[in-house]
């Protein structure tokens, strides 16, 4: 992978660490509601990354499905089960 071949590698350097931090945080946070919100942030950052790679259709889908509706669906599910996960 050639990071410097992309359009705005400075932008990549900003977004990719945030994506990784969000991904690890979404896995480690015990409160399911907070994890869902962090996961929504992860989706939105991925959407930015795809926009930067000129895959606008994919970014649009990610913004609508990943950051939008699936976050709501996961919040709806998280509120109906036990809030704390065991591991």
């Amino acid at each position: 992978m050639n990071l410097y071949g992309s359009l705005l590698w400075q932008f990549d350097l900003l977004i990719i660490p945030m994506v990784i931090i969000c991904a690890i945080a979404a896995l480690t946070i015990r409160d399911l509601l907070s994890a869902t919100v962090v996961f929504g942030a992860y989706s939105f950052l991925m959407c930015l990354l795809w926009t930067e790679m000129l895959a606008v259709d994919v970014a649009f889908t990610e913004a609508a499905v990943g950051a939008g509706v699936s976050t709501i669906l996961m919040v709806a599910t998280a509120l109906h089960i036990k809030r704390k996960s065991k591991d």
């Binding site: 992978m1 050639n2 071949g5 992309s6 790679m53 606008v56 259709d57 970014a59 649009f60 889908t61 609508a64 499905v65 939008g68 509706v69 709501i72 669906l73 919040v75 709806a76 599910t77 509120l79 109906h80």
Partner: protein
């Protein structure tokens, strides 16, 4: 045991990162993905389909089967959630054990939702109708349309939303979308073409075969949008109310 697992995961991760060296560069014109079939799409798609957005041309026309069964997958997923979660009086007597409580009425939320829902739905229709000219299409537009109903249910309550958009209607639209998509395919079969070969529609609509591709894609996108919109809302209904459609979040 935990340390061994961690070690294995880190080892696998490092190996995967190391293998990315062999992947082609981003946007490399000589990479395998760019050098066989996609050259044809990039050069000929506009001539063959009169659709400027190549992504839609590939998704809805060249790979029409693929998108049709994706729509069927969404439909089946919605039906599966409905079958598992939906409680009717006949099926389940027991009540939902735990339900998030809603306190009071939030005027700010309700008025903001009232302002936002109509533009959201208009934007969704725009995304569906312009899917072959700009980014977007049936999936994205359908999700936005479904999200507008979800917003209505979140800001007000589930019962008043269900009075406007009944559960039976939701299920009707989810089936109708798949029917529209497959129906366009079957009619082009009847008109003498292959399944989902929109060129056959040209004679019926009185337009050239190339333009018929564009209109066929529009019809297919509308079908996808119906299914996705209805299934997204149906998923929210069942997940948020625990299946009895009594009260949402």
């Amino acid at each position: 045991m935990k340390r061994l697992t961690l070690f294995l995961v880190v080892l696998l991760g490092a190996y995967l990162v190391w293998t990315t060296q062999d992947l082609p560069d981003w946007g490399d014109p000589a990479s395998p993905a760019n050098s066989y079939l996609s050259t044809h799409y990039i050069k000929k798609a506009y001539e063959e389909t009169s659709v400027p957005n190549l992504v839609t041309a590939v998704l809805a026309d060249y790979r029409g089967y693929d998108t049709m069964f994706e729509t069927v997958v969404v439909f089946c997923a919605g039906l599966a959630v409905l079958t598992i979660l939906r409680r009717t009086k006949r099926k389940h007597k027991k009540n939902v054990k735990f339900r998030p409580q809603r306190e009071g009425v939030d005027i700010i939320l309700q008025n903001a939702a009232r302002l936002m829902i109509a533009p959201m739905q208009l934007f969704a229709l725009y995304v569906i109708a312009h899917g072959h000219h700009s980014p977007g299409g049936g999936f994205q537009g359908g999700v936005i349309l479904g999200a507008s109903f979800i917003l209505l249910a979140l800001a007000y309550d589930l019962k008043s939303t269900l009075r406007r958009f009944k559960e039976n209607t939701v299920l009707f639209y989810s089936g109708l979308g798949v029917l529209i998509y497959a129906g366009i395919g079957v009619i082009s079969l009847v008109l003498g073409g292959n399944f989902l070969a929109y060129a056959a529609w040209g004679g019926l609509l009185g337009i050239s075969e190339v333009e018929a591709h564009s209109y066929g894609m529009l019809g297919v996108e509308i079908g996808v949008a119906f299914t996705v919109m209805a299934i997204m809302f149906s998923l929210y209904l069942d997940l948020a109310s625990g299946g009895d459609l009594d009260e949402g979040l």
